[in-house]
C-alpha cells in the first residue's frame, strides 16, 4: 500500500485519499474521555418514577452525596426562543422538589472508584410521592390534562402556524384530497460511546479543564460558565476523540455542570462515564412525532396545496442550546420538501410530557417529514392510477433558484435527474417482472422510492429565522505556517468521525501547493481552537470548509507576496506547487519552509512591506444550500411473520463538489443504516407509568451487519453558487431518505393486501397487526 499521491495536473480535492485520523484509531491510540484517570468517580442517582414530589433523600452515613440543596447559587438551564409562542421552562441541574421523567438526575454520589460510587448510589433511598404521568403527546394536549410545568398551559411549549393567502380557495377547488396519518416513534441516537465527562481543577491557575464527549465544545464552555456564574476564561473544554454523536452530544447535559461544580468546589478531579442504561433512558431522545398530512391535487395529479398538523413530543424539558423548537419548527419550514407547491398550511406544536427530553438526532425532523410526504405521494399515485415515479415527475422542483411557500430559497439541484438516475440503475421494469413472479409463489417483494432535499451548511440567518436566543451559523478557521514550515489549521468545528481533518487538509493542500499529510487540523479544545459552533446539521464541510478556503487564499496571497520579494519576480508569475513557490517558466523557486523561516526570523528584509509571521483568519457565514437525493429500497416481507428484509439499497445523490469520495460515501452508508434502523427496528418504549421498557441493547435494536444490505451509490455533482467550495453537506441525507424508501417498499410489497403501514418502526408486530386487521375486514 503506497501513500496516496497527487497525479500530475490534478487536485487533492476530489480524491479518495486515506484519512489522516485513522492511524491512531486503528492502533488503540485514540484518546476518548473515559480513558482519563480521575481522583474521584461520580454516579448519578436517577428518578425511578416519571413524575412526583420528592419527599425525602436518605443516604448512608458518611457517603459523599450532592443534591439540589448543595447547589446553591447554581442557575437552572434555560434555553430560549423569541418566536413561535415559546414558553421558557427551566431545568434544574439536579431535581429540586419534583421529578419530571424517569432517569432525571436527583443526586450525585462521589467516591474513590466507579464501583464504590455505584454501591453507594444503590443504597440511596429517594422517596417520591408519585402521580400519574403524561407519556403521549396526544394525551398531554387533551382537555383537562395535568400540567408538566405550571407555566405551560395545555403543555404546548412552542407553536408554529402558517397559512398562505390563497390556501383556502385552492383547497376548495382541488380535484382530490389525499391524507396520511403517520406516527414516528421515539428513538435514541445511540452513539457507540455513551456520554462521559472529566473535570480537573488546576491549582496553579484556578482553572478547570473539562473533557467531555461533545459536538459543541465552545457552547459547553459558555453554558457551564453561565450556569455556574464564573468567567469563561476559567474553563477549558476539550472534546477529545468523540465516539459518535449524531446530535445527541450537542445538548448540555446537567451531569456536566455537576462535574465542573465539583472540580471547582473540591479542587480535584471528577469523572463520570454514562452506562448504556443511563444513555438509553436519559441521554436525550429523538423523533416521536404524530403528523397528519393532507395533499390537495389538481386533475393532473399536480400538488396544489399541502396541509400539515405536526405534534412533536419534546419530553420534560427543552434542550440547550437549540431548544426543543428545533424539531417542530424545522418540520414546519421544510414539510413541502422537494416538491413545487404554492399553497401551504401548517400547525406545528411541541408538547411537554413526562418523558426524557428530546434533542436533535441526525436528520432532525426530516426523516419524519420525508416519510410522511413520500407516503402521501405514493398514496396519491395509487389514487390517480399512475406510477409513483410519474407523480414525482409532475411535482418535483426543476427551476432554480426556487423560493418555497415558506420562503426558503432552493439553490441549483437535481431532483428529477437523481430520480431518473435511480430508476435507471435499479432496473424498475425488470424488478416489476421479478415481483410478479415472486408473488405467484407467495413471496412479497416491494420497491420504494424517496426523493428529498437536505438543507445543509446554513448560516446564522437560517437559525435567526427561528428566533433563537443563541443563534449558530458562522465558523472561523485560523490557518498558520510555523517557522518550521508546517501548516496548522485551528477550527471551531468539532468533528467526531466525519473525517474533517482530512477533507479540510485537502482544501488547504490545493491552495498552498503542499501535501495534506503536512497539515494538522486542530479542533475540540477551547484553548487552542477559535470560538465556533461545532459539528452538526451537515454544516462542517460547507461552513468550516468555506472558512478554511478563505483563510487558505489569504495565506496563499501572503506566500506569493513573500516569494515575489525573495525571488524578485512579479506576483502574477509565482505558482505554488510541490511545497515551493516557483517562478513560472524558469527554474527559480523557494521552498515554503524557507519562506516561513524568513517570515518569522528575517522580517527586516521585508522593509515593513510584509507583516511578520504567517497567520490568517477566515470566517464564513453562508445562506445555506440544498443537497438532494433519491433513495430506493427493495424489500422482502414475510407475511406470515411480519419480518422485513432489505434486499438492496440504491442512492442517486447530488451533494455538489465531492471533496473526498471515500468519506462522502461512508457518510451516506452510515446514514442509511440509521435510517433502516428507524424504519424497522429502533424504538424507545414507555409503559403507561412512564417507565422505559427498552433500557438495554437487547431491547433497543440498532441494526447489525445482518440488517444492512449492499448499498449502491451514484453521484451527480452540481456546483452551487451558494457554497464557496462548491461542496454541499451530506451528513444527514442517508438518515433522511432511507426510512421513507423502506416504508414505501413495504407498502408496495403488501399492496395486494390493501394495508397501509404509516407507523415507524414497522416492526413484525405492527405489520402482522395490519395484515390481521385487513384480513378480518375482508
Amino acid at each position: 500500500m503506497s501513500a496516496p499521491t497527487k497525479g500530475s495536473g490534478t487536485t487533492w480535492v476530489g480524491r479518495a485519499i486515506r484519512r489522516l485520523e485513522d492511524p491512531a484509531l486503528v492502533t488503540g491510540q485514540g484518546r476518548f474521555t473515559a480513558d482519563l484517570p480521575a481522583a474521584h468517580w461520580v454516579r448519578f442517582v436517577r428518578s425511578s418514577v416519571a413524575v412526583g414530589k420528592i419527599t425525602n433523600i436518605a443516604a448512608p452515613e458518611g457517603a459523599h452525596v450532592i443534591t439540589a440543596a448543595d447547589l446553591k447559587g447554581v442557575k437552572r438551564i434555560r434555553p430560549m426562543l423569541h418566536k413561535f409562542n415559546y414558553i421558557p421552562v427551566e431545568q434544574p441541574i439536579l431535581a429540586e422538589d419534583v421529578v419530571r421523567f424517569v432517569g432525571e438526575p436527583v443526586a450525585a454520589v462521589v467516591a474513590m472508584s466507579e464501583e464504590e460510587a455505584e454501591d453507594i448510589a444503590d443504597q440511596i433511598e429517594v422517596e417520591i410521592a408519585e402521580t400519574k404521568p403524561l407519556v403521549d403527546a396526544r394525551d398531554a394536549i387533551a382537555k383537562g390534562a395535568t400540567l408538566v410545568h405550571a407555566q405551560v398551559p395545555i403543555n404546548v411549549i412552542v407553536e408554529g402556524k402558517v397559512r398562505t393567502p390563497d390556501f383556502d380557495a385552492t383547497w376548495k377547488g382541488a380535484h382530490k384530497i389525499i391524507k396520511v396519518d403517520a406516527r414516528s416513534r421515539r428513538q435514541n441516537a445511540t452513539p457507540m460511546e455513551a456520554r462521559a465527562g472529566h473535570a480537573i481543577y488546576e491549582a496553579s491557575t484556578g482553572r478547570v479543564t473539562f473533557t467531555c464527549t461533545t459536538q459543541m465544545p465552545h457552547l459547553m464552555r459558555t453554558a457551564i460558565a453561565d450556569v455556574l456564574g464564573f468567567p469563561e476564561s476559567d474553563l477549558r473544554v476539550i472534546a477529545p476523540d468523540v465516539g459518535g454523536g449524531f446530535g445527541q452530544k450537542m445538548s448540555l447535559a446537567p451531569e456536566y455542570v455537576v462535574l465542573v461544580w465539583l472540580a471547582r468546589k473540591f479542587k480535584s478531579s471528577f469523572a463520570w462515564t454514562e452506562d448504556r442504561r443511563e444513555n438509553l433512558i436519559a441521554g436525550f431522545h429523538s423523533r416521536d412525532q404524530h403528523v397528519t398530512l393532507e395533499g390537495a391535487f389538481d386533475k393532473n395529479a399536480k400538488l396544489v396545496a399541502l396541509n400539515a398538523d405536526i405534534l412533536a413530543n419534546i419530553g420534560a424539558y427543552s434542550c440547550f442550546p437549540t431548544t426543543c423548537g428545533v424539531e417542530p419548527l424545522m418540520a414546519m419550514a421544510e414539510m413541502p420538501g422537494p416538491y413545487d407547491v404554492r399553497q401551504y398550511a401548517c400547525l406545528s406544536r411541541g408538547v411537554i410530557t413526562n418523558t426524557c427530553p428530546m434533542a436533535p438526532y441526525r436528520g432532525v425532523s426530516r426523516p419524519v417529514i420525508t416519510f410522511v410526504l413520500e407516503r402521501l405521494m405514493d398514496k396519491a399515485a395509487a389514487a390517480f392510477g399512475i406510477d409513483p415515479i410519474e407523480i414525482r415527475r409532475r411535482n418535483l422542483i426543476d427551476k432554480f433558484p426556487y423560493t418555497s411557500a415558506m420562503g426558503l430559497v432552493f439553490d441549483e439541484a437535481t431532483y428529477k435527474q437523481t430520480m431518473e438516475m435511480a430508476v435507471e440503475h435499479i432496473g424498475l421494469p425488470a424488478f416489476r417482472v421479478r415481483q410478479k413472479e415472486a408473488r405467484a409463489k407467495g413471496r412479497h417483494l416491494g420497491i420504494g422510492f424517496a426523493t428529498f432535499s437536505e438543507r445543509t451548511g446554513y448560516g446564522s440567518p437560517a437559525f435567526a429565522a427561528r428566533g433563537m436566543e443563541i443563534t449558530p451559523g458562522w465558523e472561523t478557521v485560523i490557518l498558520s505556517i510555523d517557522p518550521s514550515g508546517f501548516v496548522e489549521a485551528r477550527i471551531g468545528s468539532s468533528p467526531h468521525g466525519q473525517g474533517l481533518r482530512t477533507t479540510l487538509a485537502q482544501i488547504i493542500a490545493d491552495e498552498l501547493g503542499i501535501t495534506p499529510q503536512l497539515i494538522k487540523v486542530i479542533h475540540g479544545d477551547t484553548d487552542r481552537a477559535p470560538y465556533g459552533w461545532g459539528t452538526f446539521a451537515s454544516r462542517s464541510l460547507v461552513i468550516s470548509g468555506g472558512a478554511t478556503l478563505i483563510a487558505a487564499r489569504k495565506v496563499r496571497a501572503k506566500l506569493i507576496k513573500i516569494a515575489s520579494h525573495m525571488l524578485e519576480a512579479a506576483p502574477e508569475d509565482i505558482v505554488l506547487e510541490d511545497g515551493a513557490a516557483k517562478v513560472a517558466g524558469t527554474d527559480r523557486s523557494i521552498s515554503i519552509a524557507k519562506m516561513a523561516r524568513e517570515a518569522y526570523h528575517q522580517t527586516h528584509r521585508f522593509k515593513g512591506e510584509i507583516e511578520p509571521g504567517i497567520t490568517e483568519t477566515g470566517t464564513y457565514d453562508p445562506p445555506g444550500t440544498f443537497s438532494n437525493a433519491c433513495h430506493v429500497a427493495i424489500v422482502d416481507v414475510d407475511v406470515e411473520t411480519g419480518r422485513v428484509a432489505v434486499e438492496k439499497f440504491l442512492v442517486a445523490e447530488d451533494a455538489g463538489l465531492i471533496i473526498n469520495p471515500m468519506i462522502a460515501d461512508g457518510q451516506v452508508h452510515g446514514g442509511i443504516a440509521q435510517g433502516i434502523g428507524n424504519a424497522l427496528l429502533e424504538e424507545i418504549i414507555y409503559d403507561s407509568d412512564g417507565g422505559i421498557l427498552t433500557a438495554t441493547l437487547a431491547d433497543y435494536l440498532p441494526p447489525t451487519a445482518h440488517e444492512i444490505p449492499p448499498i449502491e451509490l451514484h453521484h451527480i455533482e452540481t456546483h452551487t453558487s451558494a457554497s464557496i467550495t462548491k461542496a454541499k453537506g451530506l451528513g444527514e441525507g442517508g438518515t433522511i431518505g432511507a426510512p421513507a424508501a423502506v416504508i414505501n417498499a413495504i407498502n408496495d410489497a403488501l399492496s395486494p393486501f390493501g394495508v397501509s403501514i404509516d407507523e415507524m418502526p414497522a416492526t413484525p408486530q405492527r405489520i402482522r397487526a395490519a395484515l390481521r386487521a385487513a384480513g378480518e375486514a375482508a
Binding site: V26, G28, E115, E193, H669, A698, H706
Partner: protein
C-alpha cells in the same frame, strides 16, 4: 466491597501484576488497572462488542468475563496487533476501505475479525457476515467493515 485478589494478566506478551476485586470485569482491569485504554466499553452487557479482546486465541467480550478468570491466560488487545511500526493487515484494510469513522467500535471489530480469521482462515463469506453481525457500529453502515475484513482475510490467507 470485598477483598482484592492478586492476579497477573498477560496482555500482549507483557505481565501486569494487579489487585482486583473478584467482580472486576476483564474490560475494566485492562483499561483501569493495566492502562491499556485501546479496548473500549460500549454497553457492559455483552451486546455491542466494542470491548472484544482475544483470550487464548478466542475473541471474547471482556465486559462479560471477570479479570480473575483471565489470570494466566494470553490476552491480546488492539495495542498488540501491529508489529512495531508495521500494521496488521486488518488495521491496514480498515484504513484502506474506510472501515471506521469515529473509531470507537473499531478495536472490538479488529480483534473480533482477527480472532476469527486466525482460527478459521477459510471461513465462508456468509459465516464471516454472521461473525461481524455480532458487533455494533453506529457510523459506517457496515459495508466498508465487511469489505475491509474480506480484503484482510485474503491477505492473511496469502501470507500463510
Amino acid at each position: 466491597m470485598t477483598e482484592k485478589s492478586n492476579i497477573t494478566l498477560n496482555i500482549n506478551g507483557r505481565n501486569h501484576a494487579i489487585g482486583v476485586e473478584p467482580r472486576r470485569t476483564l474490560a475494566d482491569a485492562i483499561r483501569e488497572d493495566c492502562g491499556q485504554t485501546g479496548t473500549h466499553i460500549g454497553c457492559e452487557h455483552g451486546v455491542c462488542g466494542a470491548c472484544t479482546v482475544i483470550v487464548d486465541g478466542e475473541p471474547v467480550r471482556s465486559c462479560l468475563m471477570f479479570a480473575v478468570q483471565a489470570a494466566g491466560k494470553k490476552i491480546r488487545t488492539v495495542e498488540g496487533l501491529a508489529k512495531g511500526d508495521e500494521l496488521h493487515p486488518m488495521q491496514r484494510a480498515f484504513m484502506e476501505h474506510h472501515g471506521l469513522q469515529c473509531g470507537f467500535c473499531t478495536p472490538g471489530f479488529l480483534m473480533l475479525a482477527v480472532g476469527v480469521l486466525e482460527r478459521e482462515p477459510d471461513i465462508s463469506n456468509e459465516d464471516l457476515l454472521d461473525v461481524l453481525a455480532s458487533n455494533l457500529c453506529r457510523c459506517t453502515g457496515y459495508q466498508n467493515i465487511i469489505k475491509a475484513v474480506r480484503a484482510a482475510a485474503a491477505e492473511m490467507r496469502g501470507a500463510r
